[in-house]
């Protein structure tokens, strides 16, 4: 058997790898602190946040406020932007030195890039892109819930003998904790012992913008191919309802909506109170992204469209006609009452 570098008997503690951009913690990192707190309490062990980077702002303090007992901070100018190998080395060394039992990362592009490499370096198991986490406190085993085959199959994955038990977790699954500014925790600045050989990949340019975060939207108006590139009415309705626009992969592929607004297996999993699906056929790849909505309305001209199996209120009609009436009636009602 390929053994991990340390075993269950030596392992203790729940770690969360914290991602940040310009000193601001990513929302998935906050979500993991919330969930990590639960796991650490169940295991009766400390929750440690791991921050690697430069110019981290108030991130360490924020991690404490959101549940960390301890924050390990490795700060160095050369770590300002993420690259795989230096980050892998830093986390690998810390893990070998302190032997965490559980190590959680966000399933973001960089979180998954790091986790995949780190897991092999540590010779341990990694459950990727989890949609749920539970712990068995007796056996001290983490089980990660993952969906496969386009969302149709759910499996639980365990890592019984290798440590740390690693998992990447999909953004938007767990709730963000309310920060408690009175919480106490230790912030430990650790030296960065960097190896020049790790710096062989260079980031030449980088462009990030504040993305719409559909995982937190209360109401979503979602469009598919049936919208034929005309989002005016959908946007009008979204404006009236204070909703976010989302859509299918087709809508994103055709450039009607930005990629960050794509819902589904390869997009975001939303959990709004209400989602209105317009001109969407209802492929399982899409519906896994709306399964957590409290209420689903679907408008589709095709009475046989699978989306109706995933909807509370089904309208077999032209989306433009129905959207126009919805917008008109809402605006009209407001004009009367307002």
């Amino acid at each position: 058997m390929t053994s991990s570098l340390y075993g269950p008997a030596d392992a203790r503690g729940v770690w969360v790898f914290l991602e940040q951009e310009e000193g601001k913690l990513e929302s998935v990192s906050l979500e993991l602190l919330g969930k990590g707190r639960e796991l650490a309490d169940a295991l009766d062990c400390p929750l440690t946040g791991l921050l690697v980077g430069y110019a981290l702002g108030d991130s360490p303090a924020r991690a404490v406020a959101c549940g960390a007992d301890e924050v390990l901070v490795v700060e160095h100018p050369d770590l300002q932007v993420y690259t795989t190998e230096p980050f892998t080395s830093v986390v690998h060394h810390l893990a070998l030195e302190r032997k965490p039992d559980v190590l959680l990362l966000g399933a973001t592009p960089n979180g998954r890039d790091l986790a995949g490499r780190l897991a092999v370096r540590l010779r341990t198991g990694l459950t990727a892109d989890c949609t749920g986490l539970t712990i068995d406190p007796e056996r001290r085993l983490l089980s990660g819930e993952v969906v496969g085959f386009g969302g149709g199959i759910v499996a639980t994955i365990l890592c019984p003998e290798h440590r740390p038990q690693m998992a990447t977790v999909r953004p938007g699954i767990f709730a963000q904790p309310e920060p408690d500014l009175k919480r106490k925790g230790e912030i430990r600045a650790l030296p960065a012992s960097l190896d020049a050989a790790d710096f062989r990949v260079h980031v030449l340019e980088r462009s990030v913008s504040e993305e719409p975060d559909l995982t937190r939207a209360g109401i979503v108006v979602a469009v598919g191919r049936g919208a034929r590139g005309d989002l005016e009415l959908a946007q009008r309705l979204a404006g009236l309802l204070d909703a976010e626009i989302g859509g299918t992969r087709v809508a994103a592929d055709l450039g009607w909506i930005p990629r960050a607004r794509q819902i589904g297996q390869t997009g975001v999993v939303t959990q709004p109170k209400l989602v209105i699906c317009c001109g969407i056929s209802g492929a399982i790849h899409f519906t896994v992204g709306i399964d957590k909505a409290e209420c689903v309305v679907a408008i589709n001209t095709d009475p046989e469209a699978p989306i109706f199996e995933h909807a509370d209120y089904c309208v077999t009609d032209d989306m433009f006609a129905v959207l126009a009436c919805l917008a008109e009636q809402i605006a009209g009602a407001r004009a009367v009452t307002g």
């Binding site: 390929t2 990513e26 998954r112 149709g152 062989r200 209120y313």
Partner: protein, 268 residues
């Protein structure tokens, strides 16, 4: 020596809609499902073919799986790959990403010189996106994940890659050889060239290697070389919905929808 060699890792997976959970054994029943190339791996192959058009050189396709994968590898040859390697051995079965990446890396080393290893973004049947970084770690090469554009500077032995990151993208410069996973959907995979069919049936084009051929430690591959186990599987329970059909003229439909969703609309 002086031509670019790209290795493309491709997996054959069951068609998602045909996989069922056997409720008694709680295992996946994929025996009755038809198979296809993992769609993201077609994007990786297409990327390799485009690089070959620009730089010349050759493409090897590499796959770990049961003997029937061979049929599929010959289809990759019809798309323009030059040769294929199939890693097939009972000892490789049941591997998680640790065991899979170990096996693929061992084969890549045995194949020999290469500039690029291209992978798909993720496989549709379970493990997701962890194999490419795993291969890179075993090989000790740089990695680029979620690549959307790739430019190879063969003579200076480096590549420029644009990759997706949260909320945007970045441009990387990395030395060759490197392992790259290609973002799903970045290109339109080409059709098979059926005129290549007779050539693609050539015996010597597909090499099949066992664990012994690879010379890997049997403890490091397959189930034994894996760290994770499947605790259980189930058909994902789609949430029960009301499925109430609303009919009438558009304005009646709109009115009825509003009556039903009123509770979700905040006052403004």
């Amino acid at each position: 020596m002086s031509e670019m060699h790209t290795i493309v890792c491709m997996k054959v997976v069951p068609m998602p809609e045909e996989v069922r959970v056997n409720q008694e054994t709680m295992t996946l029943d994929r025996a009755n499902a038809r198979s296809i190339f993992n769609p993201p791996d077609m994007n990786a192959l297409e990327m390799a073919l485009q690089l070959k058009q620009a730089h010349g050189g050759s493409i090897s396709v590499l796959s770990m799986g049961p003997p029937f994968f061979e049929r599929y590898l010959r289809l990759a040859l019809c798309m323009g790959a030059d040769r294929a390697f199939l890693l097939s051995d009972r000892a490789f079965g049941g591997a998680d990403t640790l065991g899979t990446s170990r096996t693929l890396a061992a084969a890549i080393e045995k194949i020999g010189r290469y500039e690029l290893v291209l992978c798909g973004e993720e496989s549709s049947d379970g493990a997701t996106a962890q194999v490419p970084p795993g291969i890179a770690e075993w090989l000790g090469t740089p990695q680029v994940t979620y690549a959307i554009e790739l430019e190879v500077d063969y003579w200076n032995r480096r590549l420029r890659a644009r990759r997706e990151i949260k909320g945007g993208h970045e441009l990387l410069l990395a030395p060759l050889p490197a392992v790259v996973s290609v973002k799903t959907g970045v290109n339109e995979p080409r059709f098979l060239d059926w005129t290549l069919r007779p050539w693609a049936e050539g015996q010597d084009l597909v090499t099949v290697w066992s664990a012994e051929d690879l010379g890997v430690d049997l403890e490091e591959v397959g189930v034994k070389g894996s760290a994770t186990i499947v605790g259980g599987v189930g058909q994902s329970a789609s949430r029960e919905r009301r499925r109430e059909f609303i009919t009438g003229a558009p304005e009646d439909e709109a009115r009825q929808i509003l009556e039903r969703i009123g509770q979700y609309l905040s006052e403004r």
